[in-house]
Symmetry: C2
Subunit: 458 residues, 2 copies
């Protein structure tokens, strides 16, 4: 630890060094992400088709492939200042534990009560809803990270927040539910009798414990049938990656402040919100030919949309009511195994990241659950932070790369995204400690069966 006195353990930006605009990587992409399609007509969706469901200004952001920088409104920057900048941490202790010549940094986004990076987009979406004069927003949540973040954001802007929480999570994760209630959100177990779609599902399957697809359907119905409400979503969409670019911009500014050049950027990937945000300014440099970086998406081997999916138009939701997006997908009928990284259990991938991956601008790999928890425990013991299972996918890959450096002697600089904390995931850690954790890997047949059901217009 010879240079410990040069680079601090944690690099914090001053308030005046913080990003004042989000960065829209689409502006620098030669091949733009494919447009969303209307599932009925198969035609690209127009703004006026989206505004009944989404906030107006967010629809503009969703469709904007041209403007590279979009100013962050002052009200959002005020909120960001409550928990941002997040620290960029030099993992000195992990480096020492691994005895690697690699230099490892992580951007820690778990430093706020929602426990993850989701708050970066939640506050933006809540702001635009407020600005539009809406009464509230609706959303769905599974494990509860997005619902928690949105509850906090709505509480700040005094907006009503209706969260449809998958019933099995509602019952099994009462703590997340109570955090949302603390912030004033109404949390309804889905399916519920508060919506037509919910009542229909309950009638057909009285004992169902719900699904994310069903919760989305209820949230969308609640948004469209209640005056003054819109629906909001925490991942996949272009607008979400735009908001999350604050992660990458801060990371880049912190590295630049100390003259550090990253060789490799690593992030976990479910719908792509964290990874897309983290890499965006680095990818921008790469797209503009100013610098090169190795960029790695890490996904669970149980839900390998990049590594074993196909690039095609598909439904964003299992209920097949949302628009069609062109993305790497396992098929919207693919049911991921019940692994413990709820935030990565998504059949598809952000259209922006899918296009970048298809263009060979980034790599992807999948990792097994027990290997992920092994990395999580190693990390926790030396770096102190108890990581979320999702984030630990990135830790696994970062450790693997650092060990390669140990073999080759290369002093690579590795930056990874630590998206959140695992305080609400201790049941998974308990399974791991007790040797009861399984590794699920879907069979080729299983994936083929799901892909065979992709919508026909491809």
């Amino acid at each position: 630890m010879t240079d410990k006195n040069r680079i601090p353990y944690k690099i914090y930006l001053e308030e005046n060094e913080m990003p004042q605009s989000w960065y829209n990587v689409r502006a620098d992409m030669a091949n733009k992400p494919a447009p969303l399609l209307n599932p009925g007509t198969g035609q690209p969706l127009k703004a006026e088709e989206l505004t009944p469901i989404f906030c107006e200004e967010l629809v503009q952001q969703e469709l904007d492939n041209e403007n590279a920088y979009i100013p962050i409104p002052q009200e959002i920057r005020d909120f960001y200042r409550m928990y941002r900048p997040s620290p960029l941490v030099r993992a000195y202790c992990l480096e020492e534990k691994l005895q690697t010549p690699a230099k490892i940094y992580y951007k820690f986004e778990g430093n706020n009560t929602s426990g993850s990076h989701k708050l970066n987009s939640a506050i933006a979406q809540a702001y635009y809803a407020k600005k539009q004069g809406l009464r509230g927003v609706t959303t769905e949540t599974g494990a509860g990270q997005w619902g928690t973040a949105l509850s906090m954001a709505c509480s700040y802007f005094d907006l009503d927040c209706k969260v449809y929480m998958v019933k099995v999570s509602y019952e099994q994760k009462p703590f997340r539910r109570e955090v949302m209630r603390t912030y004033g959100a109404s949390v309804t177990p889905s399916p519920s009798d508060t919506t037509e779609v919910g009542r229909a599902i309950l009638k057909e399957h009285p004992g169902t414990t719900g699904s994310l697809g069903c919760a989305i359907s209820e949230a969308v119905e609640a948004a469209t049938k209640n005056e003054g409400y819109r629906y909001v979503l925490g991942s996949v969409l272009n607008q979400v990656l735009l908001h999350q670019s604050v992660i990458g911009l801060e990371t880049k500014a912190a590295l630049d402040k100390y003259g550090i050049k990253a060789d490799m950027i690593i992030g976990c990937a479910g719908g792509g919100s964290n990874l897309g945000g983290l890499i965006s300014p680095f990818m921008g440099e790469k797209l503009r030919g100013e610098a090169d970086y190795q960029i790695i998406a890490v996904e669970p081997s149980s839900c390998p949309s990049f590594t074993r999916g196909t690039y095609a138009y598909d439904f964003c939701d299992t209920g097949m009511i949302c628009p069609l997006a062109k993305m790497y997908t396992l098929g919207s009928s693919f049911i991921p195994a019940p692994n413990h990284a709820g935030g990565l259990r998504y059949h598809g991938m952000s259209p922006i990241l899918s296009q970048l991956y298809d263009d060979g601008l980034m790599e992807a790999r999948s990792v097994r659950q027990t290997d992920v928890f092994q990395a999580a425990e190693t990390f926790a013991r030396v770096e102190g932070i108890l990581p979320a299972p999702e984030s630990s996918h990135a830790i696994r890959a970062a450790i693997d790369e650092a060990m390669k450096c140990k073999e080759t002697g290369e002093e690579k600089t590795i930056v990874f995204g630590l998206t959140g904390t695992g305080y609400f995931d201790m049941t998974a850690y308990e399974k791991f400690h007790n040797g009861e954790m399984e590794n699920y890997v879907p069979s080729d047949d299983e994936i083929a069966a799901s892909l065979a059901r992709l919508p026909r217009l491809n």
Copy 2:
């Protein structure tokens, strides 16, 4: 929010601005805290009587009433850098919500995986155990904050950590238990059959769910009967307040950096570790006549040792095996009602704070549980952070003081300690949300009965 651009939301110290020594307030006290007594002889305990139980260097710190500054060893400062400095936050949003002219700051100690300030002393105690060449340490834990912090600290120094966890908590709080296991600690539900005292208790009360007193007894036995182990404790002791002075020193340095003069320092008080640490440099100035501050200890009305106890020698533990300490106490046989601020359910109070309170150098007040949770929810909704129930006692008093300023128009600067986060306390929040939370206030008779059983030597 006119001056928002002058004072940042969060004041972080640079690494070179961080404290290099702890501050020992005893050095500046005219009336020193009363010495610990041997319960058998009634005589002040000598170092050689303490070293079979406690680490040698910690015993020196425990007995040191003379040295004002004790250097923080480099190894501990390295660890502190992983999560310190903790932010001093200007509560702009809370001020706006309350429409108060008061300026409110809080020192947030929940910014590490243990979720509380306990880590500041845990890492110090683990360091001295390692330096002494010990194999490990033993301790007890109730709700689990101290046990978690100690597990993290022992993991860092590769020390064995044996935690005796009150059986009812072990069963009701499996998440805390799993966090400890993640850091490699062994966690034993107490009473257990691993100690003589545990076996005796189990034989007499086969169905018991344990108590903190019993867990202490087991931890002390395990320390003395296992070669290479010592017992460590997370509050009350002088050494603990010494280590926790890092909170106050950072707070003072951050305020000084921006030329801010505090009028009032507020902290919650159970055994006194957080409050004692937070106030120490301010109290030092007060004792030396350099400045004046209003200092307020806030305790639960269900366990009011300062406000309704008496200043006398008493046992530190309910099992009556530990030394006698002179302190404000409700009597070691006092059983606090099952409120939700486990960290404040202690019958006594730090001897240092007890002497300062008795000398009129600080105030105390007690607050009701439902009022505490009301303050917690208000705070969470505007400041984002979900506070621990313990910490929320200080929030309650800070809000009350800010509202007084609103009445009088005074622009007081209020600083309070936000000791931790409430992620593992959502059962309590749920009770509060559902209107099922009760307020317990012991009767005069109950307190008198307990005080009647104080040891006779007073």
